[in-house]
């Protein structure tokens, strides 16, 4: 009987795609053990959110409202959750493995004296234990981690779980938990938020991603990639080599320390295919690699490959795609 608590992220008035994925995982785990899924939302009740969460697989929605949680610093989130989790009595606490979780999950686990697994790609119950799978060695391997003591905190790797199947209108409970928070809990303070302008579709939601790597040799060729991405109504990504060189913003990075994407089509241009990059796009449905080096490791994971110089290949390709998609 595993009770799972899912930390919810809200976008507008709906659960985010990340949350739905986590809920999906939580739901299967609960189903397999005749357990339950609670979700905690760190805000005042939002109209329609609860039913969306029930549809997504939650049995219970817990509202936690506090002024310090309005634009939450990770520390406020941790402090709040530290109080909520014992009250809920959850065995497993799941969060999406996003940028907030990097600060929240470890601190929360520490304060709960709980175990911690990050980047979980699969979770299942085995008798009294819960088994998590996560990538290791840069993504070359998959490790199986067994939790026999609870609670345990897990961050779920994006785009590796499926949201729960549609169930239509489902009943569920709602309740509130109040927490005691004050300024002393929050020592860090966000002074400025800078959004790096992205034209068109966002990387994490794009159906098509065109990424550039070391082979681009500079920032200007990324314009060619943007052309292609626009034609395909997709987004532009980059590897660590490109962001370390300062050619594009760090938030464009796809990979182990960047974004995880799983588009329908991933076009890797001038990317060698280092294992840390694959960690971020390995789940893409169709991978196309364009590289002048036929030995590049990317060709071992791509579905289609062209050994060519992107500078001469992309213009005719973009043109062809344009005519095909306009037809």
């Amino acid at each position: 009987m595993v009770h799972v608590l899912v930390v919810t992220e809200v976008q507008e008035t709906l659960p985010s795609r990340n949350t739905l994925e986590v809920l999906g995982a939580a739901r299967s785990l609960a189903n397999a053990t005749q357990g339950a899924v609670s979700t905690v939302v760190l805000s005042a009740p939002v109209e329609g959110l609860a039913s969306a969460l029930f549809d997504g697989g939650a049995d219970e929605v817990i509202w936690v409202e506090h002024p310090l949680l309005v634009t939450p610093e990770p520390e406020a989130t941790v402090a709040a959750l530290t109080q909520v989790v014992p009250q809920v009595g959850a065995h497993v606490v799941l969060l999406a493995d996003d940028s907030a979780a990097r600060d929240v999950a470890p601190c929360l686990a520490y304060r709960l004296q709980a175990g911690l697994v990050t980047e979980v790609t699969a979770v299942q119950a085995e008798g009294e234990a819960v088994v998590f799978r996560r990538p290791t060695y840069g993504g070359r391997c998959l490790a199986e981690m067994v939790a026999t003591r609870f609670p345990v905190v897990g961050t779920v790797k994006l785009r590796s779980m499926e949201p729960a199947p549609e169930r239509g209108a489902r009943p569920g409970q709602e309740r509130r938990i109040s927490v005691r928070l004050d300024e002393s809990h929050v020592r860090t303070r966000v002074v400025q938020r800078v959004a790096e302008e992205v034209r068109g579709v966002k990387l994490e939601n794009a159906r098509v991603v065109v990424s550039g790597g070391r082979g681009l040799k500079g920032p200007e060729p990324f314009l060619q990639l943007q052309d292609l991405a626009q034609t395909l109504k997709g987004a532009v990504g980059a590897t660590r080599a490109a962001t370390d060189a300062g050619w594009v913003p760090v938030s464009w990075q796809v990979g182990q320390t960047g974004k995880t994407v799983s588009p329908e089509l991933y076009i890797a241009v001038g990317i060698s295919g280092a294992i840390q990059h694959l960690a971020g796009m390995g789940g893409s449905k169709t991978i196309v690699a364009i590289n002048t080096d036929p030995d590049a490791p990317i060709f071992k994971v791509a579905h289609l490959g062209v050994v060519a110089d992107f500078k001469t290949l992309l213009p005719p390709f973009t043109a062809r795609v344009k005519t095909l998609t306009e037809a």
């Binding site: 686990a109 088994v131 020592r187 938020r193 289609l304 050994v307």
Partner: protein, 266 residues
């Protein structure tokens, strides 16, 4: 401003897939003849520390937990210009999980003397874990900021650039604080000067044992793990790449587009 940088020595990950071998018994990578390096983001952390020292002075200490060979990593850090280094090495500490590592590092940092800033790499180059930084902060009861690419220090506070999904946040915290470092174009690790390499080679790195640090044995070693690593297996990828050929780029482009259409992707 005094800084401690926590570094980890790992097997060079920049190797072709065929050279990666796992030991089925210990479930760890076999070293073979591969060389040992400092985990990549730890190197970025060393660079950040060096840049901060250039601006604000102070002492940088490299702290590592590992096998005795990890002295090489500490010397390598000193070759980059780090002032001093310490290695914690003890067979009883092997197999610790991130909580254990954080505990050990915290004890070591107390022995060094709590600095103003503690830096780690954002992600470990072998395990891919990203927990030690924040856990270390918890052990030391100080704040932490993860996935930071730049740091500026002034008046007992730091302003850290934390990378988030759609850009970055500038986060201000009082010191002491733990920051885990992500790479960008401003913190590319510098090449070491030969003079520094040779000077480092002549120094001896102090090695501390568990007993020197007063470590709680219940949270270190294999027995102290909160989760058990039951298995590690190499992910098999079947190489089924279909190469699109053509005599000219235009031809290749044409064929690629056609193929994608056939696959119903376009």
């Amino acid at each position: 401003m005094n800084v401690v940088v926590c570094i980890k020595q790992i097997i060079d990950p920049e190797i072709p897939a065929e050279q990666f071998k796992l030991d089925p018994a210990s479930k760890r990578q076999v070293r073979g003849g591969l060389s040992l390096v400092i985990s990549a983001y730890d190197q970025n952390a060393l660079e950040v520390a060096l840049q901060l020292r250039e601006k604000a002075g102070g002492k940088i200490t490299a702290l590592s937990l590992g096998e005795p060979e990890a002295q090489g990593a500490v010397k390598s850090a000193m070759g980059m210009g780090i002032d001093a280094g310490v290695l914690v090495s003890d067979p009883t500490l092997a197999g610790s999980d991130s909580f254990g590592v954080a505990h050990i590092l915290a004890k070591a940092i107390h022995k060094i003397g709590l600095p103003d800033l503690i830096l780690t790499g954002c992600v470990s180059g072998d395990t891919g874990n990203k927990m030690v930084g924040p856990l270390l902060a918890e052990e030391l009861r100080i704040p932490s900021v993860a996935f930071v690419s730049r740091i500026e220090a002034k008046d007992g506070k730091i302003v850290a650039r934390r990378i988030v999904e759609d850009g970055y946040e500038l986060v201000e915290t009082p010191m002491p604080v733990v920051a885990s470092i992500l790479s960008d174009d401003t913190n590319v690790p510098r090449y070491s000067k030969l003079k520094d390499i040779m000077a480092a080679a002549r120094k001896t790195v102090p090695v501390w044992k568990a007993a020197d640090l007063g470590i709680d044995p219940s949270c270190v070693g294999p027995g102290g793990r909160r989760l058990e690593v039951r298995d590690v297996g190499v992910v098999q990828r079947d190489s089924r790449c279909e190469l699109v050929t053509g005599d000219t780029p235009a031809e290749q482009a044409e064929r690629l587009a056609t193929r994608l259409r056939e696959l119903k992707v376009l």
